[in-house]
């Protein structure tokens, strides 16, 4: 085994290796380091250079990652998972963080893990985290881990794991009463979508274009003749940006006389689609702070699903929610799906200005008989379901 070449753990920035991390998380963490943590953390390409590694417990192939770590006991390990308690005993005393990762506190956790690793080394002989260490062959070069495949760039949104899109939060009580968990909510002001929402409002009020200043690339908003967002970000860059919490000083909203596209590199999006996507990516199955998930609302229109991202069950939710006002919890109950999928659509619709509260109480789902047919219970799916199945891979 190759011994760790990491620098002494008490000096310099923390060398972080993303050992077993999804491409989306890798981009998020990379952006955060680039922007905010350059004095505390730097990314390294190989395990041998690392002080600390990150490991996503929910990704397939974790055993291979653990085998690689078995030869590097000096390296600090930070695990993370949707259900950290399920993994805590297995990886004790290493920390297992919950998803979504709190990027504000991650540098501190990494530094702590680095320090803990050095203490573990001092206190005990090296030991494998969990997996059996493969015996070194006496006549071969030290074990070199197989190269990790490059993270896919520009993968399809629909190909993402549902949990990556909508989190894994448990349902809330079906009826109102008692406090709701804080993790159910997100503050839009912490994310790109909050900036966009304000910029769109300011552009509409003033009639002048606005830009979100301080980002790596341009994002501008024009309210006339149609509300549009223009950006030099590629889509595969936008999603991690939208998922990242932005510091207060980043992303100031600035009025501008014109959005200059001298290089002809800007892509135009309908503002409704752009905000829908930014909100869905930020929400990850949560609700904007201040939302009452038991209050009936209605989708005033279907989102433009040829551009707006389609989270799990979003089409079914839109089909039902354009028919009948209902609370997010009611919609989930009627469709028989976890609440988080409806919360994701609610958040996106809120910022895309597609929610409607102007209806009579008697129109609500609670007051009306069940409008849509219930989910199928037939032994053989209907012809409509069979067509859907055929089309599933077409989008």
């Amino acid at each position: 085994m190759t011994p760790s070449k990491a620098a002494p753990p008490t000096s310099g920035t923390c060398a972080l290796h993303l050992l077993h991390v999804g491409s989306m998380d890798a981009r998020l963490i990379g952006l955060s380091i680039e922007r905010h943590w350059t004095r505390a953390v730097h990314l390294v390409d190989t395990l041998e250079e690392a002080h600390v590694v990150l490991v996503d417990c929910d990704r397939p192939g974790i055993e291979t990652a653990l085998e690689r770590l078995a030869g590097n006991p000096r390296i600090g390990i930070v695990y993370y998972a949707f259900h950290p308690r399920d993994h805590a005993s297995r990886f004790h005393p290493r920390p297992v963080l919950g998803k979504p990762l709190n990027l504000e506190s991650l540098p501190l956790t990494l530094a702590q893990a680095r320090a803990d690793a050095s203490r573990l080394i001092a206190a005990a002989p090296p030991r494998a985290p969990t997996a059996r260490q493969p015996p070194p062959h006496p006549h071969t070069a030290p074990h070199q881990p197989p190269p990790m495949p490059p993270a896919p760039q520009g993968h399809s949104l629909m190909g993402e794991d549902e949990r990556d899109f909508c989190g894994a939060m448990d349902d809330i009580p079906a009826a109102q009463g008692g406090a709701l968990p804080d993790k159910l909510f997100f503050d839009p002001d912490d994310y790109l979508v909050g900036r966009l929402h304000k910029a769109l409002a300011q552009a509409g009020a003033s009639g002048r274009p606005h830009v979100i200043a301080g980002l790596q690339r341009l994002i501008g908003i024009q309210s006339r003749p149609q509300p549009v967002c223009v950006t030099a970000f590629r889509e595969n860059q936008l999603r991690p940006l939208a998922m990242t919490q932005l510091p207060e000083a980043t992303g100031r909203i600035v009025s501008t006389p014109i959005i200059d596209d001298a290089t002809n590199s800007l892509v135009h999006f309908a503002a409704e689609d752009f905000l829908w996507n930014a909100a869905a990516w930020a929400a990850r199955g949560r609700l904007p702070s201040g939302t009452n998930p038991y209050l009936p609302v209605r989708l005033r229109a279907w989102p433009n699903f040829t551009s707006a991202c389609v989270s799990p069950h979003a089409l079914r939710i839109a089909a039902l929610w354009t028919r009948v006002p209902a609370s997010p919890v009611d919609i989930a109950t009627r469709l028989g799906i976890p609440h988080r999928y409806v919360f994701s659509v609610y958040s996106a619709a809120h910022f895309a200005n597609l929610l409607d509260t102007s209806f009579q109480p008697e129109q609500t789902a609670a007051a009306s008989p069940p409008a849509p047919p219930m989910p199928e219970r037939q032994a053989r799916p209907s012809i409509l379901s069979r067509i859907l199945r055929k089309l599933r891979d077409a989008v």
């Binding site: 433009n304 040829t306 389609v310 089909a319 379901s385 069979r386 077409a394």
Partner: protein, 186 residues
């Protein structure tokens, strides 16, 4: 609403001349589409060289061996007598509106009126094409117009590129979920 059993397995594509009906069917069909196009002889000739004078026909082959027929109606109004015949027993309507036409909202209104009876027993999903070169009216204008026409529940209205299979498939999926939000594709 008729039961699914009573319907034929066919989806109707209709809409204005040049909206992309033939292209959309071609994008989705598992067979080369059968098209009865001819050199346009009326005002249509200004918009496109050939146009559908009878119908387009494509097929979705389902894994079970069944077929779903995709019928495209002729765009020219003088062939509108065929619309009722073609749509008889259909699952629903995909309506394509060419946003580059001079009065696309009037076009929408006209087609919804023509298919009113069919839609009332089934459903419609609307694709607005050519928005890249004719961005107005925007989708919100279509929605407002549908509300003004008293169309409820509000159907899906998507910006669509008829050449893209994923756009056409998304319209069909919206149509199917409109018919039954409880559907499962699993």
């Amino acid at each position: 609403m008729r039961s699914e059993r009573a319907r034929h397995n066919k989806i109707i594509f209709s809409g204005t001349v040049g909206a992309g009906k033939s292209t959309a069917i071609n994008a989705l069909s598992d067979i080369p589409t059968v098209s009865t196009e001819a050199v346009a002889s009326d005002d249509t000739a200004r918009l496109k060289r050939t146009t559908t004078v009878a119908m387009d026909y494509g097929v979705l082959n389902l894994p079970s061996g069944e077929k779903v027929m995709l019928y495209g109606t002729p765009g020219q109004e003088r062939f509108s007598f065929m619309w009722d015949i073609l749509s008889e027993g259909g699952i629903g309507l995909i309506l394509l509106i060419n946003n580059a036409n001079t009065a696309p909202l009037k076009d929408l209104e006209g087609y919804l009126a023509a298919f009113k009876q069919f839609i009332s027993g089934t459903a419609v999903a609307i694709g607005v094409t050519h928005m890249d070169r004719a961005p107005e009216p925007a989708l919100d204008a279509y929605r407002s117009h549908l509300i003004a026409l008293g169309i409820t529940p509000l159907p899906a209205v998507f910006r669509a590129d008829a050449r893209k299979r994923e756009d056409v498939a998304m319209l069909v999926k919206a149509l199917l979920y409109t018919l039954n939000p409880g559907l499962s594709d699993a």
